[in-house]
């Protein structure tokens, strides 16, 4: 993804790499900070204190909650929600449907009426503002007016809720969007339960108050809305399967050596969920050896596959060549195969591993969607565009439970008297290689560092979107987007809403990757190539 980052990092102190890597992408800042310090710690075989693990985990969870909420409501809900039908909705009916599903306080009749009036005003003014580019009246829109009204009410509430999740990142990280508290060897949060400037009991409870608002929204609102969309659009469980090899890494370490995790990772090939092979951690040999990036169809010098520790990034831009080089994205492969990454991969691997919260939330989501669809939707239907939306909601619900668990773990540890947050790194006078892993909101992220005598000599980041948006490799095998878009039906070629649904289902990080082409080669959107 961030092509050429090694030119900025080479020669620098590995302890400061995270400051630069968190600037790769303005949306995924914290994930690149944490993957970076983990990579250097792995190279040094440096353990981190428990408090640091919990603090990092809480930052990662809060960031993911924020990110998944924004993805659903502010990026992709309008692919399924038709704002133009809202004036026809019955606010009382919308309210009673929602109140029958959850105790969330934002579903009252006056609230629904207020939102309906706001939207009526907006539609009447002809100034649609944020909704100007929705696909109103599109034949592929299917929600009843009341569901559309509920979704827009929650869209507005989500603006406030995602900000609260982000505040947790701010409390622990010192600032958002660029956290200040990371360190190779731990974190820089001084823990002093009585002091106001440090991580005090006040601040720890402030975090709890914020989670207490975010968690119910995730479990009672986002989760239900995602299930409703899945039920009304159940045909999307048959569309957009793409590549059914899945990769996810374990995350939320619960010991100082990062060998036990609260979220399992693994790999699945050819959709065979039952045959999942677990990944035990960053030191798993199959994982360390399995990752390569193929340059054959990327605009870079060279052909064939490179391991990230030996990776190079020398741009070689040619025109678009159908059968030659056609993308700024390198093609990551695992054991030579393209892999789908993201919440679906993470959920399927955890489901196969028998991870209790993942199983419980997945089964609940499928039963809710099935009830609305009037037919049984099973786990094998998750290999689809809608499967990716459902899996993201499941993952978010699981993470919301783990937020409270890791908050409790931190409180228990610090009130027990442990205030350690940092182990001092020392660098050997020989080359060492490390990989930092993180199961980010968009999927498996890995940073690969080589350092010699305390100086970076190579640095590569293999990011989720390059796995999913990867071009063909030397064997002409397409990546997940390309495979998923083939066969996505389009009702109106001028308004390719269906293609957006499939692309959005992957939650692309296109600032880090590059541009997307539809199957006819028409550019859906062009973004700055980094």
């Amino acid at each position: 993804m961030w092509r050429g980052i090694e030119t900025i990092l080479r020669g620098r102190d590995p302890r400061e790499a995270w400051l630069f890597t968190q600037r790769f992408c303005g949306v995924c800042t914290t994930v690149h900070a944490i993957a970076s310090v983990r990579a250097v710690e792995d190279a040094l075989k440096l353990e981190v204190p428990l408090n640091a693990q919990y603090i990092r985990n809480l930052i990662l969870i809060a960031h993911a909650l924020h990110d998944h909420i924004v993805h659903f409501y502010h990026l992709s809900a309008l692919d399924f929600v038709d704002v133009a039908t809202i004036p026809e909705a019955d606010p009382a009916k919308a309210s009673s449907i929602a109140e029958s599903l959850s105790e969330w306080s934002g579903n009252s009749k006056p609230e629904m009426k207020k939102v309906q009036d706001t939207i009526k005003g907006l539609l009447g003014s002809g100034q649609l503002g944020i909704f100007a580019h929705g696909y109103w009246g599109h034949p592929a829109m299917k929600l009843p007016p009341e569901a559309n009204l509920l979704a827009v009410a929650h869209y507005l509430q989500a603006l406030d809720v995602q900000r609260k999740a982000n505040q947790v990142v701010g409390i622990l990280g010192g600032k958002t969007p660029h956290i200040q508290n990371m360190a190779v060897g731990g974190v820089q949060n001084a823990i002093n339960l009585d002091a106001s400037a440090a991580l005090s009991m006040d601040r720890i409870y402030m975090m709890k108050d914020l989670f207490d608002e975010v968690v119910p929204f995730v479990q009672q609102v986002y989760f239900n809305d995602a299930c409703a969309v899945a039920g009304f659009y159940a045909d999307w469980f048959d569309i957009g399967e793409g590549v059914t090899n899945y990769l996810s890494v374990p995350d939320l370490p619960t010991d100082t050596a990062s060998t036990t995790f609260d979220l399992p990772g693994g790999m699945i090939f050819d959709g065979k969920v039952a045959g999942m092979k677990p990944i035990s951690g960053a030191r798993d040999e199959a994982w360390r050896k399995g990752v390569t990036e193929d340059l054959t169809h990327g605009w870079y010098e060279g052909e064939g596959a490179q391991h990230p520790w030996q990776g190079t990034t020398k741009p070689n831009h040619t025109d678009f060549q159908d059968d030659g080089k056609y993308s700024w994205v390198k093609a990551p492969r695992f054991e030579g195969k393209p892999m789908q990454v993201g919440p679906l991969a993470s959920v399927l691997n955890a489901y196969a591993a028998g991870h209790e919260p993942t199983r419980r939330w997945t089964d609940l989501a499928l039963s809710k969607a099935s009830a609305i669809a009037g037919k049984t939707i099973t786990v094998d239907k998750l290999h689809s565009t809608m499967g990716r939306y459902v899996a993201r909601a499941v993952r978010c619900a699981v993470l919301s439970e783990l937020a409270l668990r890791h908050w409790e773990l931190l409180v228990k540890n610090v009130t027990g008297g442990d205030t350690d947050v940092y182990n001092v790194p020392t660098f050997p006078t020989r080359p060492v290689e490390g990989v930092g892993i993180h199961e980010a909101p968009r999927g498996t992220l890995s940073h690969w560092v080589v350092a010699d005598s305390g100086v970076i000599t190579n640095y590569q980041a293999v990011v989720p979107t390059t796995w999913n948006a990867s071009p063909r490799d030397a064997h002409d095998v397409p990546g997940p987007y390309e495979a998923a878009l083939v066969g996505t039906p389009v009702a109106d070629a001028e308004r390719p809403l269906e293609l957006l649904r499939t692309v959005h289902s992957f939650d692309p990080c296109m600032a880090c990757a590059c541009h997307t082409l539809d199957v006819e080669g028409r550019t859906l959107a062009t973004v700055k190539v980094l």
Binding site: V27, L75, I130
Partner: protein
């Protein structure tokens, strides 16, 4: 300032630097934010934010302000280093596009979203600079560095006019930001 980025209380005046510090002149916004923070001490009613490239996340930082001052690079006709000032009405008229990812720049959307939620800033100013180069690199070009110095003089006046308290500091040099410092690799041998 002590609460910058913590979002525990919404400061009514926010100065937000936008741009990627690893892309040459694109780092203008964060650079000016650093200049302001190193030359002035601000009251609690002022928040300085190096927001980087938050995409759709910009709405979070825009919401609930009285006065919003944005610093960014702009694509406009002119010479590198020229500053352009835009006001709320012009910015609200920015076209929004169907988005593929949450990462595309989203100023128009952030303003429209907060307007819909009833938390839009009352006054919006955007000070933009025309970049010379946004190729990968951690340095500003000379013209944009000069523009940053000028911006460092203009913005405090606007903050003051909006009711923000500020006091000049001494001791730090202009533009000594971490990302432009030369490589000074540390060697800690075991």
């Amino acid at each position: 300032m002590s609460r910058a980025g913590l979002d525990l209380a919404r400061a009514p005046i926010a100065v937000i630097g936008l741009g990627n510090v690893l892309l040459g002149d694109d780092g203008f916004g964060p650079f000016v934010v650093d200049v302001l923070g190193s030359q002035w001490t601000f009251g609690d009613e002022v928040e300085l934010i190096d927001a980087g490239t938050p995409g759709l996340g910009l709405a979070t930082y825009v919401s609930g302000r009285e006065t919003l001052i944005l610093l960014d690079t702009v694509a406009a006709t002119g010479s590198p280093g020229e500053l352009r000032l835009y006001r709320g009405e012009e910015l609200r008229a920015l076209p929004t596009k169907p988005r593929v990812s949450p990462h595309d720049p989203a100023l128009g959307e952030a303003l429209a979203m907060t307007a819909l939620a009833g938390s839009a800033p009352r006054e919006v100013l955007l000070l933009g600079v025309i970049p010379e180069s946004t190729a990968m690199g951690t340095e500003l070009s000379e013209p944009v560095r000069r523009a940053a110095a000028l911006a460092g003089e203009l913005v405090p006046r606007w903050i003051s006019r909006a009711g923000g308290q500020l006091t000049a500091r001494s001791g730090r040099h202009f533009g000594d930001v971490w990302w432009t410092r030369p490589v000074r690799a540390h060697v800690a041998r075991s």
